[in-house]
Structures are given as C-alpha cells and as structure tokens.
C-alpha cells in the first residue's frame, strides 16, 4: 500500500497518542494590548486629574440626600414599570383581539405614547392643570359625584409616574404582543379542543408561555427605565440625578457629584442585570443555580459558546 512504501519524512509521533496544538489567536493579543493601553491611560486620568476630587465623591457617596434620591429613582422605576406592564398586557391583548374597536384603540394608544418623547410628556403632564383645571367624576351630562383641582392631583411625582408609565406601556405592549404571537398556534388549538374559553386559554396556556419569552426584553426595559427616570429632574423631583444637581448647585463641585450619580446608576443597572439573568436561567431550567454561574454567564458569549451549558451545570 501507498503509505507503506513512503514512510513519514521525520519522526512524527503516533497520531493516536498526541493532541493537536491548539489554534493560536495572535489578533486577540494585539487587540488586547491596544485595549490595555487605553485602560491604563484612562486609569491614569482618573488618578491624576485633580478636578475629579475623589475625596468629595467619597464624602457624598452615602450622604442622606443622595441616598434619598436613589430611593426615589428606584421607587419611580418600579412603579412606572409595574403600571406600564399591566397596561401593556391589556393593550397587547386588545391589539390581538378580533374586536375592531379594541384593535383600533390599542393601536392609537401605542402610536401616541411611542411617538411622543418621554421628556415632552413629563412636562405636558406636569402642566396638565393649564389645560384641564379641575377633574370631576360623575354621571356624564348629569350630577357630579367628586371633583378636585388638577393642581392638587398633579405633583412632580404623579406627573413623573404618568409620563414614564404610559411611555413604557406602549413599548411593553409591543413586546408582549410579540411574545403572545410567538406561542405556537397549536397551543390555542389544543386548548380549544379541550373546551377552554378564550379567556381560560389566554390566562392558563398562552400568557404563562408568552411572559417567559418576554422576560429578557422586560429586563432590558427595566434598565432603560432606570436611566429614563433621570429625565424627571426637569420637574424638580429630587431623584438621584436631581439630588446630585442640587448639591453641586450649592458647592460648585459639578464633576464629583456627577460621578457619584454615575457610580450609583452603574451599580443599580448591574444589580438589575444580575436579577434578570437569574430569572431567565431559572425559567429556562427550573433549577436553582449558583451565583457564581450566573455571574460568569454575564461574560460568556451567547452565540459561539455552547448555550447555557455553563449555567445549568
């Protein structure tokens, strides 16, 4: 046979007893070196630039005013998200309903609140009293049961909740609609043949599966919302950013206080990311998992790496 006549030129090792040398990745090292230079330069800036005043950052990091602002930012984020999601579920169901009135109403709502910038909405809601001075509840064209002046109802906080929650409701509705549509049509058929009504099918079969699909985008949206809350500083609502602004308007230490706010926003968004990953993996595998695995999953490539094997160990 051919290979008998022509033995290997050099003393090659037996292929069954040797492992191939792993692929080299020189580009990783070149890119890494370039990145490292930038990181060193950035750290040098942070350490040597005296305008940063790290001692001021440390002084205000846990000050009562900043922590109160932090609390308001978190409260606003969660209230706006919860109201937004509840309205969003209703809008999504209306959008997919066969009732043309529901479809149209939902479409107009989403069109409007997705189209108007949240900052414009916040200012608009805050000045609602200029448009409608009093609100009253009563029989249309009949007696009035309850009334109040708009100025007493619209505080900076309620205006902020309205603006943020209504914007969120439009985005949430589109996500949840996509989630519902991603549930296999066979599921609703199976439910129908078991004699389930539409609302039973929706509540027991479709929504549980759809919500699982929309958990990652909702987590993403929560992080967006955390950052969008900084817009409420235009309403003089002392959230995290506005608390920092109030301090630096007294002390003129603009940069250190913006850094305080930045650090807190990063801390919060990191925590929210961790929570989202935890819920996502929990839903995928139904198993409890170790924090270290969730942490490492933040850094593993979802595309090239074998999916989830690292986390569901």
């Amino acid at each position: 046979m051919a290979h008998d006549k022509k033995p290997p030129a050099s003393a090659r090792p037996n292929i069954h007893e040797t492992k191939p040398v792993p692929l080299r990745h020189p580009s990783w090292w070149i890119g890494g070196a370039a990145l490292l230079i930038f990181v060193v330069m950035f750290i040098r800036l942070l350490v040597t630039n005296e305008n940063l005043h790290w001692e001021v950052v440390a002084q205000y990091m846990f000050s009562a005013e900043i922590l109160a602002g932090l609390g308001r930012t978190l409260l606003l984020t969660f209230i706006a998200m919860i109201i937004g999601l509840v309205i969003g579920v209703v809008l999504a169901i209306m959008r997919l309903s066969r009732n043309p009135v529901f479809q149209t109403a939902s479409w107009v709502w989403i069109w409007f609140f997705r189209g108007v910038p949240p900052l414009v909405q916040l200012i608009f809601w805050y000045n609602l009293a200029l448009l409608i001075p009093t609100v009253s509840i009563g029989v249309p064209f009949g007696p009035e049961l309850w009334s109040a002046s708009m100025n007493s109802l619209i505080t900076p906080f309620s205006a902020a909740v309205l603006g943020l929650a209504l914007t969120e409701s439009a985005y949430a509705a589109e996500m949840i609609r996509a989630g519902i549509q991603a549930v296999n049509a066979g599921q609703t058929e199976a439910a129908a043949t078991l004699g389930m009504t539409r609302s039973q099918t929706l509540r027991r079969i479709v929504l549980p599966q759809a919500l699982k699909i929309v958990i990652p985008p909702i987590g993403n949206d929560t992080i967006s919302m955390l950052k969008f809350t900084s817009l409420v500083s235009v309403l003089a609502l002392p959230d995290l950013l506005y608390s920092a602004q109030m301090i630096y308007s007294r002390t003129y230490q603009t940069i250190p206080l913006l850094i305080v706010a930045t650090i807190w926003y990063l801390v919060l968004s990191t925590i929210l990311t961790l929570i989202e990953h935890y819920i996502e993996h929990r839903l995928n595998d139904g198993k409890s998992l170790e924090l270290s695995l969730v942490l490492s999953s933040l850094f593993y490539s979802k595309f090239w790496a074998p999916r989830r094997t690292k986390v569901s160990a």
């Binding site: 066979g186 599921q187 058929e189 199976a190 043949t193 078991l194 004699g195 079969i205 549980p208 599966q209």
Partner: protein, 256 residues
C-alpha cells in the same frame, strides 16, 4: 330513532382556502362506537375534513351534526345563529382531538396537562381529577411519567399523554389527526397500541392516518379521499383488497 341516529353526521360540507377548493360537498356519518379511518394522499383534504368536525376550521358551507345538533350554530326560534366561541367550547368538550404535533402544554407536567381542562373547564374537584388522571396515565402505560415535563418525554410518550389529556374530558368521540406521522418509526407501535385498546373499549373514533395495517385491523369503516372528495368508502377489508376506483387502486399500490 335515537339508537339509529348517527353520533356525527356531515352533510354537504365544503371548504376552500382562497381559490383552492379543499373539500367538495362531503357527506359522511359516524355511528356510536364505530372507528372510522380516513386515508388518502397528502393534500386530499382529509385533515381539513377532520378539523371541520370540531370547527377548528370553519366550513364555507354544509353542516356537521353532533347528536343531531348543528356544530357552531344553533336555532333561536326559527333563526339560525352563529355560536359564540364560548358556546362552541361547550360543544367541543364532547369531541376530543389528538394532533400530529401533540401540542402538549410545555409549562405543565404530564399530570398537570391532563387535569387542566377537567378542573378549569368542567370544574371538577382537584383530587378527583388527579385520581382520574393517574388512572388514565396507567391506561396509556405512563404511570411512572406523571411528573415529567413534555420536553423530558419521547414523541410516543408525549402523544400518549395527549391522548390521556383528551380522554380526561370524557368525550363522546375522539378525533385523531395523523397521530403517528411525527413519530420515529420505532415509537409508532406504542401509540397505535393505545388507540387499538381505546377502540376495543368501544370509543367512537375518527382517525386520519397513513397506517394501513391499523386501518385494516381496527376500523369499522374506511374512507378513501382524493382531491377533496370521498372516492370510496366501506368496510376496510373490502376497500383495501378490492378497490373499485382507479384512484384508490393507484394509491393503495403505492402505500401497501
């Protein structure tokens, strides 16, 4: 009269998808306790016919009668009215259906899949529903898989759970839409065995299938469809061994 009235009666049923006419004025009837197998080439309309029986597909014209009552519509005095979805749901409880792709609820275990509709739809007590579900799982040979999720089960096991899920509603008739077509060949037998047992127990069944030996052994009545019409129907042994129509002959020559 009641004893001779067929359980299911289909009269002049037609259905088109766009310009494509899938069913041409179909007439058929199913007697209580009978097993009817519908065979025919792909695209012959047999699945559409089955799905019209429980109104998953709404026929363009023609009527399906269940126990003498029209499906999907009702008499209100002398006016015929379209049923609401929830009225239709009550009618559908009488017709169980098993799908080619199983369609188990993935977020529920085998047991939860089975007890869902009895509890939610028929408002039966949970303990009673569980007891019946356990008995049904035993009947389909899966008593040890009660707490498994669908994705942890093989195709054949999933389909047997799906059969149990339908039976839990105590339907008058079971509709099978190519129940073994999505299965690996070695798993087909276990599902057919469950269906054979069901037929022996006297369940009324309408089965769309490609399994000719099942049709020959189990069916009381065989329907051969092609091009949206019933080409030939009768006792399975006669139709299979002595087909009258050229289209039946050429189909059987290909599949047998």
């Amino acid at each position: 009269m009641i004893a001779t009235m067929p359980l299911l009666n289909v009269e002049r049923l037609s259905k088109s998808f766009g310009t494509h006419r899938v069913l041409h004025s179909i007439d058929m009837s199913v007697k209580l306790g009978d097993v009817t197998c519908i065979v025919g080439p792909s695209g012959s309309g047999k699945s559409t016919l089955l799905r019209c029986l429980n109104y998953l597909e709404v026929p363009d014209s023609g009527v399906v009668f269940l126990d003498g009552n029209p499906v999907g519509m009702r008499w209100h005095g002398d006016t015929l009215r379209q049923m609401s979805f929830n009225e239709l749901a009550i009618q559908r409880q009488r017709m169980g259906m098993v799908f080619q792709s199983f369609n188990l609820f993935p977020h529920k275990t085998a047991l939860e899949n089975i007890i869902e509709a009895p509890i939610i739809v028929q408002r039966r007590k949970k303990a009673e529903a569980i007891e019946e579900a356990v008995a049904l799982l035993d009947k389909v040979g899966l008593s040890d898989r009660a707490h498994y999720y669908p994705k942890q089960l093989s195709g054949g096991q999933q389909q047997r759970v799906a059969i149990a899920r339908s039976l839990a509603m105590r339907p008058a008739v079971m509709l099978f839409d190519e129940p073994t077509s999505a299965l690996d060949p070695e798993l087909v037998g276990e599902v057919l065995a469950v269906m054979r047992q069901l037929a022996e127990d006297g369940m009324t069944m309408v089965v769309v299938t490609h399994e000719m030996s099942f049709a020959r052994d189990v069916a009381d009545h065989l329907i051969f469809m092609d091009g949206g019409v019933i080409v030939e129907a009768g006792p399975p042994k006669e139709v299979l061994s002595n087909p009258q129509h050229a289209r039946t002959k050429s189909f059987l020559a290909r599949v047998l």
